[in-house]
Symmetry: C2
Subunit: 213 residues, 2 copies
Amino acid sequence: MSTAGTGGRGRRAEAARNDLRLLEAAHEVFTTQGFDAPVSAIAKRAGVGMGSLYRRYRTKEELLQRLCLIAMERAVTAAEDGLAFADPWEGLAHYVRTCVGFGSGALAPVAGTIEVTEEMGTTARRAIELADRLVTRAREAGVLRDDVTALDISLLMEQFSRPAPGPPSEQHRHVKRRLLAITLDGLRAPGVTPLPGDPPGVDWYEGRWRTTP
Amino acid sequence: MSTAGTGGRGRRAEAARNDLRLLEAAHEVFTTQGFDAPVSAIAKRAGVGMGSLYRRYRTKEELLQRLCLIAMERAVTAAEDGLAFADPWEGLAHYVRTCVGFGSGALAPVAGTIEVTEEMGTTARRAIELADRLVTRAREAGVLRDDVTALDISLLMEQFSRPAPGPPSEQHRHVKRRLLAITLDGLRAPGVTPLPGDPPGVDWYEGRWRTTP
DNA sequence: CTTAACCGGAGCGCTCTGCTCCGGTAGGAA
DNA sequence: TTCCTACCGGAGCAGAGCGCTCCGGTTAAG
């Protein structure tokens, strides 16, 4: 624990660097190819051997859990940053753009296939609470259409984070930005077309994470 | 060819019924589970043996080609219906809603993995031309934001047709309708936020269908 | 120089896929 | 009714691809 900096030249430094590369590579691969991408692809992308990967994470599930947790923490940060904005609309937009930008919901398809750790549960609840405050504030300020819920917005971000077909490209990212701009405009008050039916229920949303095979 | 109706009771009638069930089942399975779903799942869902499936379609690729063609034809019909609307906006909205409804773009991830038949190419060109007219008409009527292109809308529909995680449910369809309503509102003129960057190019869009392994 | 921690990747076992093949069955002609 | 034949259904095959292990080579540390 003496020279644990990532810039060092010792063996421990290499280990720390490997861990960071691994996390980045895993995020990249999973968000672009889906969570059922082979583990070997992650190791290759990180420039690291399988041995090093499996010494750090004893199983693929463990790696996914870590990734989910990090994504949730980034979402929490984005929400806090959004709440720090004076303008309620810009705060919400920042939150949505940030989450979509780093692929917040890309790991949603993993729901129900991995165990939810206690830490993940805690962070998820905190993220939901912050998002709620962000949405409520925007609605009360009259800058968000009043028939949309925080859950709608979560699912919207999830939809935008689905892996695109084919190899990842700058074109895809660009198109996504344009589509998101359109959708954000659609979120602003007042909605021209009332949203159909009842808002989705929270219980259904959370139930997807239950592992019941 | 005498009693080829699907309601008959003979052997030929059963064959015709099987073919229809197969097509429906394949559409359902591929749009909800992705195009790499096992062929056996389709046979099971159609209540048909593997033998019957592979007697009708000699390979999985052939089945996918047929499905793509049908989807394109349905898109063409939706566009023609849309053009028949007197209101340019309602016409465009009908087109988008219909295509998203039957999962028009769900087969997009198949791009580059199957051979494009001549019939598919012809139909695709016709679909694009009709969509262009639909979009141009709406823009010239001033009911569509003028920084959005027909290609943006195609990609938007594609995004909405991505298979949802987990088992298919009415909840998912409902949420999708709500999100689509939001996005359609965002498409109406004038856009509050100008779309970032240049519109996507047609060559890139079509290039994805080239098989170059 | 010795030692042991740690890196990288070849390989194992297993699951699951696209596809084939054949026994059973039920229409149609005599 | 009886036989024939076309067709239906699913068990099974070969192969690909996966998660994961294990071990030889390398290099920092003592």
